[in-house]
């Protein structure tokens, strides 16, 4: 087990190096750099720019260095947790992201929990009552949730929450708590606001999840070992949980790999509509304004989380499924 873990961790290194190069190329691809767009912005606003200051900034930020040198500077910074400097915010990237990361994790965590709590029972019900009215009805609502644009739902929910509960529009806390340290009152305020984005982001995810739970469980329900369990006299629900449901969990565990990166990048549009202080809108903005270190660090964080997520699901799969743990692969 340990040797496997070490080997797996070792495999991650070339993957991450390759992605870092790719990311760097990507953010370098558009013509110009942050300073040029900054200058253009100033000029269009009718202000004068001192060319000396620009040259000074260029040297300061290393824009005059060759590409590969800048890459190494950036990449070696990543290794020690220095993500670079955001030009737009005039702050280290760490500080820019740090504040928002907590909110993002809270929102995503509750969204995932919400999705599971709703999707698993419905999916199990749909599969065990295939083609019944209940199945059709739940499927209908699920598809409705999948088809409704999130931003529309967000606007409606915000309006209703404001009308009925007097919740302030937008954001994750009441305006008076912004920039306040975390305390009980602020926490309550967060909870008050939290449920709207959770439901909005959760609905589409739930619908997709229900369909997947249903499809996977249906496949398993037809397998002979389910009949074996019934013939043994195992009570229906207990048998369902012990055999086919456990089997159908594989897909879901394999999914964890994709879930981690979602934590920081998911649901940008909803976040913008609801002006949530999460990391999603930040990424989009950084990409738009060519704030290269901020954008690049973001993308690197995403790929790092993906790699870690895949590792976690691989390990979890091996623990849960003896076939993966014990069987060797065959090659032709």
């Amino acid at each position: 087990m340990l040797s496997y873990l070490i080997k797996r961790a070792f495999y991650m290194v070339p993957t991450l190096v390759l992605t870092s190069i790719l990311v760097f190329i990507l953010i370098e691809l558009p013509p110009g750099d942050y300073l040029e767009s900054y200058v253009a912005e100033l000029l269009s606003a009718g202000e004068t720019v001192d060319p000396k200051e620009i040259i000074y900034l260029r040297e300061e930020y290393g824009f005059d260095l060759p590409v590969w040198e800048r890459y190494f500077k950036w990449a070696s910074g990543l290794l020690v947790g220095d993500f670079g400097y955001s030009f737009e915010y005039q702050l280290p990237v760490n500080d820019v992201i740090g504040d928002r990361l907590l909110f993002t994790i809270i929102v995503t965590f509750f969204t995932i929990i919400f999705t599971w709590i709703i999707a698993f029972p419905i999916g199990i019900y749909s599969a065990t009552h295939q083609y019944s009215w209940g199945d059709y009805g739940l499927t209908f609502f699920g598809l409705l949730g999948l088809a409704t644009p999130n931003f529309l739902l967000a606007l409606i929910m915000m309006y209703l929450a404001n009308r009925w509960f007097g919740t302030s529009i937008g954001g994750l806390v009441d305006p008076e708590f912004v920039d306040q340290p975390f305390g009980w009152a602020k926490f309550v305020s967060v909870l008050e606001h939290l449920w709207i984005p959770v439901i909005v982001i959760g609905t589409s995810g739930t619908a997709a999840m229900v369909r997947r739970v249903r499809a996977n469980l249906l496949d398993e329900l037809r397998k002979p070992y389910v009949t074996t369990a019934r013939a043994k006299g195992v009570p229906e629900f207990r048998g369902l949980m012990k055999y086919p449901f456990r089997m159908s969990l594989n897909f879901f565990i394999a999914d964890i790999g994709g879930m981690l990166p979602q934590i920081i990048s998911g649901a940008e549009i909803v976040a913008i509509v609801m002006s949530l202080e999460t990391t999603g809108p930040l990424l989009i903005q950084a990409l738009q304004s060519q704030d290269m270190y901020l954008a690049g660090s973001f993308l690197m964080m995403l790929s790092f989380l993906t790699v870690i997520g895949v590792l976690i699901s691989d390990i979890a799969l091996a623990i849960l499924d003896p076939r993966i743990r014990l069987q060797g692969g065959v090659s032709r």
Binding site: T227, R230, A231, K232, G233, E236, R323, R325, L326, V330
Partner: protein, 636 residues
Amino acid sequence: MKADQPPLLEVKDLNISFDVQGGRVEAVKGANFSVKPGKVLALVGESGSGKSVIAQSILRILPRNGNIDSGSILFNDPGKAGETVDIAKLKANDPLLYDLRGGRISMVFQEPMTALSPLHTIGNQVEEALTLHHNKTRKEAIADTEEILQLVGFPDPGRGYEMYSFELSGGLRQRAVIAMALICNPAMVIADEPTTALDVTVQAQILGLMKSLQEKFNTAILLITHDLGVVANMADEVVVIYHGKIMEAGTVEDIYNNPQHPYLKALMNAVPHFEMKPGERLVSLREIGKDNKVIQNLAHRFKASTAGKKITGPHLKVDNLRKEFTIRKGSWFGSGEDSAIVAVDDVSFDIKKGECLGLVGESGSGKTTVSKLIMRAISATNGSVTINDGSGMTDVLALSGDELMNFRRRVQMIFQDPYSSLNPRMTVQNILREPFVIHEIGDPDQQQDDVVDLMRLVGLDPRFLNRYPHSFSGGQRQRIGIARALALHPEILICDEPVSALDVSVQAQVLNLLNDLRTELNLTSMFISHNLAVVNYVAERIAVMCQGKLVELAPREQLFEKPHHPYTKALLSSVPYPDLDRLLDFENIATASADSIGEWGGAFLPSNNGNLVRLEVEKGHFVLANENSDMRELRA
């Protein structure tokens, strides 16, 4: 037995139907039979006859769209004398029903691979049956489970307890399922095709095990099978079912010595058996309408395509063929050592023009790999395959480009599974035409005519050409597969288990068709099968394979009359005959199965001073034996 002893299980006027799209299908129509305590009742029928449905209804584990419409299933539990339960009337969630399932009536299934969950250990699953019905401490439960595992033949029950189903061989898996069925000492075990998925030597062992345990525990068995040979060896009484109706019932002696119903008689005649004279035909239940004009026409064209080629000597020759597969050893977490598995080990044989060579072996013996190597579907590690093209032998393994394309026309294959070997998204028309298109033969009109001829050749109505494979039965699909294989006028036909997925009655039909086509079109063929009786029916010479090696090769009669190799002997002695005078000898069964090579005797094993070589014990009769062994010892 006292005459007034009530039957253990009595099925009365049972009607079962299934809700399907656009109506309902009656699967069982008025079935009546009863199982006596401690006796074996065999329920015999072909696929779709409703025999498994009856089994499921007794445990009330029918699929959700199945309903018991009327009738009763009376169970007299000998443990609770005088009490009779009508299982058909119980509510689906009646606690009594859960007590019965697994506790008093249990079940053994057909597919030992899929009948066990791969995520739970064998011990966990066997023990579950016990703890559901009896209050046992964890320690007692483990002890009981290991005891029953020992009883069903696990060599090391403690280790078996911890193992997962995919780590066991098919035979051991089925033993585990039997252990699960017997651990609560039920009054009755329903065995639904318990040995159909197993190899013939393993089948004999499992049947022997079931018989001995049945006598030991005095358990009644409801044996569901399509195999009349298994029935003859196991049953006390027989019930024959056809299309949901019971055709005939009686003691096993009555049924075999004096069959009454035409269906049963026909079924008995449709099974190939070893006493068949050369040239004797199987009587198929539904004979295919033959179109002699088409066959003659085609025979003419087959001759034309091989005109000018006078083949002398062997048509196909295989020499020292070897194939290794690389396997990544060890677990997922272990070191990734590669090791080679030898699937085909030094196999040599030849087939004469127009001859049919039978290739017999159990699963994993490498017989299909040999066929794939000849077809150039996979590449050989070593050895040669040569084909006679009239002017000399051509090396098949060295062909490439146009030559290889040309070779593909000359050798064609018929596959085992008629369901997955036809593309479900293509019409039969397209399936049959594809070979012509690939090889650019004829214009569209000519191709169309040929396709129609091919349909007639296999006795199918050309009006069905626009249908998709799913609208045909298994036998019809296999005939489409045969038509496709014949489209390019091949010289050599390789049939890989062409009838093993088919029912007995359909099997006879397809075998007859293959035999007719083979003789009339003068095809050279290789017939691969695990079923000795089927090979005996079609082949002129038979090769026996075991663990990648060709252990014996002999003309048909000689192999059956005077087998020399212990494996061949074991194979022959394991076949259950549908004949009450030739029952299996369960006491001395299959000491030389593929798993027990060590018991073969020194003459058949390699030693320090002698390798295994092919020895000709009689003219044309080869045995794989130690080069230093004594001929007399071999002939013994």
